[in-house]
Each structure stands twice: as structure tokens, then as C-alpha cells.
Symmetry: C2
């Protein structure tokens, strides 16, 4: 009989990866354009806080999103930091080619689970977006095999245009994207309609369908459920979470949608639970300063920054 | 061999009881005093929304809390509604006697888990408060055996005065209160320091210690974790949740503490998950009007009221 290994005395819960989307999702959602120099300072502060994955911009025509006209320069700067996965969003092959040419480690494509949102957001059907994913994955395989291709399935939990989105269609579309060559397929609650039961159900099915290609949870706090939904996703095995410093951003093409999960609050929740994020909360709070300096007058959010860290707070505190 | 019963095809998750604390916890935390007539209209609106347990006031000397000078009249009015458990807070035997004389169904006593908070909040040690619980339970047994005695263990997850609160001390104190005759002992995150892992751990231990006397979860949203903590408590079997309409209230004696869980957001979360609350969300939103009319200029909160219910929202919707 083989001896069993001793159980660990203090089993550590799995660590998580916080994927900061503010410089892309946040900055493209506000009217003002953050000057390039401020973007670079802000990204430096995010890296200094310990964030290891940052979505730094969108590769879209500058006439559509002038806020992102400097994206290639921002990517090049972000790449000077070692140990950070530099991501950018691209809506199509041309954008992905430009992103990869600029040197990103990972390109993320938005594919709408809602047929109505797909037409409103990228003026393409869902099927046409799967073809775009296939083209990007193929070009990547031939030209830049080290680059990762991610799909974020937006409106996966409901749509402000069409209302409910069928879970079967979400899973069908996720499978299509994986089959087309996406390395990861995450689910986005673009419209803040998700609830924890739905999050657990849909991510459980996603993992059963895609295995290790099941990707990140991108939750919104529109109705206050952002952190509860992240907790629910963690409970069923999700380990990568999108969040935005100061809660900056949303989706301008989903009417009424707002409220990315606030990075500061999400990191606080996980760290308080003893789940390692690799992020230093004091330095994360400090990263709000360059964000505000680069977007004067723009409101930013966060309950933990407003309340401050609890008395007696310490990483590794026994009561957590 | 006995035949096993067929598994239900669509098992319904357990329902929850939302215990509305706004008329007590909320109103005693604000500077202004809501006129009695407005209190009665507000309570009527809460009942009309389907709330079945309401903490309608505090039995404390009017010179200490002028907002509660009319509490006996408010209790008498609330009692005209059938099917509603009318609760009041009492800090001591004298208050409990007055509450029971006014006709409450349940009296709740605040006992601080933190030694420092106990002295600041009720000017008594924790041990002296356990004696008070014993006196109330004894008097109730002799004089009003139908009345329930609840203890809410405040600062059970941390204290702004002393920092961490030992979980062993919380459980010891809960056992003392149950032994002294309390029918239910709940746990309050008075200071907004709880995290979901701690909530699951502490309520699991509380249930193991007290069995059916383990009581409600009273969570605060100070750092944005209110709903995540309620979800965590539900996951380990808690079925009664305190909340405050519009998030009114906090604890004036725990510096920096603020932010009761917003009833509207909590009900939205549970209903969206298919967990019955008995509360109608449209009518609950409507109950904000008499609250605001009675406290002009007082800020109230709520993400779901601000965002509105999602497109396609319906009780019993298949996607939830």
C-alpha cells in the first residue's frame, strides 16, 4: 500500500490573476482623451502595484476612437516592463495585425453573445465575428505563434437591446470561437444583468465545454452585484478577473450599461479572503492619482478607497 | 428495499426572509427626525412591498435618541398589519419591558463582540450585556412567553476601535447569549470589515455551536462587499438577512462605519437567482418615496434603483 502524502496544514486557496482593463475599457468610454504621457505614468503605477496583465488600448481607427490614437506607442512603453502581459483589444483582423506588429502578448476580440448587440457594437453578425476570430487565429499561427488570442463574449448574461440571451447560444458561440482557434474564451456581463446563480451555471458549463480554454470573468457593478458575481465565478473555478481602476468605463453601445468592477474593491475582497492577487493595495490606491491627473474632473469610484483599509489590516492577518 | 422518492425536476432553492431595519437602524443614524406620520406611511409602503419582518424602532430614552421618541406609537401602528413580525431594539431590560408592553413580536438586543465597542456603544462590558440578555429572557418567559428575544452580535467581523475580533470570542459570546435565553443570535458586520471567507467560516461555526438558534446576517457595504457577504452567508445556510431601504444607516459609535446593505439591491440579487424573498421589487422601489418625503435632503443609495430593473426582467424568468 502506498503511503498517502500528508495533507497540508494550512492549505492556501488558489491565487487569482487580476486583468486590469482601465487603460482600454475605461479610457475608451469617457469623452476626454488622456494625454499619452499620462497614460504611460498610469500604466507604470499599475505595474508598480503588482498588476501582471493590463489591457492597454484598442487597435481601432483613430477617427472612431480618438482616445486610442496613440495605442501603438502605449503598447511599446508597456512592453518595457518585464513580467507583465500586455494586451490590446482588436475588433478585426486588421486591428489584430496592428496590435501584434506593435508587440502585444495577447490580443482580445469582442464577440457579442447577443445578436442585436453584435450589430450595434461591431456592425457584424456573430457568425461574421467568429470568421474574424478564425482569421486572426490563423494569421497569428503563421506569423506570430507566441501571441495569445482571447475572445471576450460580451452580453453573455443579458442584453439591454434584446433582453435575455440564451445560455445555449452563449455556449454554442463559445465553442465556435474555441474551434476557430481562440486560446481563451471569457464571459462578460457587459450590461450588469448577471446574478451569482447564473454566473456559476454558465461558467461551469463553459468549463465543461472548453476545458482549459474557458477564460476570464468580466463583471459589471451596474446593479451592485459585481463582487458577488466575481465570488460566484471564483467558487466554480474561474481564476482570471477583469477589473478597472476606479471603476472607469462601461460600454457606450449598450444603453444604460455602466460600472466595471472596481479593481481596488475586487483586490480587497480577494486579499481579505486570503486569496493572493499579487497586488499591493496601498500602491493600487496610489495608482488612482495618475488616473485622475490624466482625466481631470472625470468621476472615479471605489468603496474601499473611500472607506480606507480596515483597522488592523495586514496581508497575512490571522483573522482573514 | 424501500423505493426512493423521485427527485424534484426543478428543485427550488430555499427562500429567504429579508428583515428591514431602516426604520430603526436607518432613522437613528441620521441627524433629522422623521415625523411620526411619515414613519407610518413608510412602514405601510414596506409592508405593501411584501416585507414580513420590520425593525420599527428603538426603545431608548428620548433624551438620547429623540428620533425614537414616538417608538411605542410606531409599534402600535405596525401591529395593525397582519402577517408582519414587528421588531424593536432595546439596549436593556427596561427598554425590552417597554417594547413588550407596546406589543412587539420580537425584541432585539445589541451585544458587541468587541470589548472596546461594547463600552463605547452601550457603556457596559460584554459580560454585563449577557446578564442583560438573561434578565430580558427571564422576564419574557414569565410575562410574555410568545415574544421572541434576538441578539445581534455587533462588530462580529472586526472593530474600528480595536481592529480584529477573535472568532473564538465571537462564538463564546454567542453561546453565552443562547445559554442566557436568546432565541436567535445573529452576526453583524457593524464596521464593514467582513469578507466572504470569514462569513462562511463564522456562520458555519455559529450553526455548529447554536443549531437552530443561529440567526441573521447583518452585513454592511462599507467596502462594497455587502452583497458578496450575503451570498456567502446564504451558501452556508443563513436564511434571514437584515437590510435597509436606500442603504440608510450605520452605527454612529463605530467611527467610519457606514452603509447598511441596500434592501433593493439585496432583493434584486436573490430574486434574480430564483431565491424567493416574498418582496415585490417595483413596490419596494416605490417605498423609497415616503422615505425621502419624510427625510428631505437625506441621501439614499441603491444601485438597482439607479440602473432600473434589467430589460426582460420578470419574476420567474427562465434565464435566471
Amino acid at each position: 500500500m502506498n503511503a498517502l502524502p500528508a495533507a497540508p496544514v494550512h492549505p492556501q486557496p488558489d491565487a487569482v490573476l487580476i486583468s486590469e482593463v482601465g487603460p482600454r475599457d475605461g479610457l475608451q468610454s469617457v469623452q476626454a482623451t488622456m494625454p499619452t504621457a499620462h497614460k504611460l505614468l498610469w500604466i507604470d503605477a499599475l505595474v508598480a502595484a503588482g498588476l501582471r496583465e493590463i489591457e492597454v488600448g484598442s487597435f481601432v481607427p483613430a477617427r472612431l476612437l480618438p482616445q486610442m490614437a496613440d495605442v501603438a506607442e502605449v503598447v511599446r512603453h508597456a512592453l518595457t516592463h518585464s513580467g507583465v502581459t500586455v494586451m490590446a483589444l482588436a475588433p478585426n483582423l486588421r486591428g489584430a495585425q496592428a496590435a501584434i506588429a506593435a508587440g502585444v502578448h495577447k490580443v482580445t476580440l469582442p464577440v457579442s453573445a447577443s445578436a442585436a448587440h453584435s450589430l450595434a457594437n461591431v456592425r457584424k453578425t456573430r457568425e461574421a465575428m467568429v470568421d474574424e476570430v478564425r482569421a486572426v487565429a490563423q494569421w497569428r499561427r503563421d506569423m506570430a505563434p507566441g501571441v495569445l488570442v482571447e475572445v471576450g463574449l460580451s452580453t453573455a448574461f443579458g442584453c439591454t437591446l434584446q433582453g435575455q440571451v440564451s445560455e445555449d447560444e452563449v455556449l454554442w458561440l463559445a465553442a465556435q470561437c474555441a474551434e476557430a482557434g481562440a486560446d481563451e474564451v471569457g464571459l462578460s456581463d457587459t450590461t450588469g444583468m448577471a446574478n451569482p446563480a447564473q454566473v456559476r451555471r454558465l461558467f461551469t458549463h463553459l468549463q465543461a465545454e472548453l476545458g482549459t480554454r474557458a477564460g476570464a470573468a468580466h463583471m459589471h457593478n451596474t446593479r451592485g452585484l459585481g463582487l458577488a458575481n466575481c465570488l460566484a465565478a471564483y467558487d466554480v473555478g474561474v481564476r482570471t478577473f477583469d477589473a478597472s481602476l476606479g471603476g472607469l468605463g462601461g460600454c457606450p453601445y449598450a444603453p444604460g450599461a455602466s460600472g466595471n468592477v472596481v479593481t481596488e474593491d475586487l483586490v480587497f475582497m480577494f486579499e481579505a479572503m486570503g486569496i493572493a492577487t499579487g497586488v499591493n493595495l496601498d500602491r493600487l490606491m496610489a495608482a488612482r492619482q495618475p488616473l485622475q491627473a490624466g482625466l481631470p474632473g472625470e468621476p472615479i469610484y471605489g468603496m474601499t478607497p473611500e472607506a480606507g483599509l480596515p483597522k488592523g489590516w495586514a496581508h497575512g492577518a490571522p483573522s482573514r
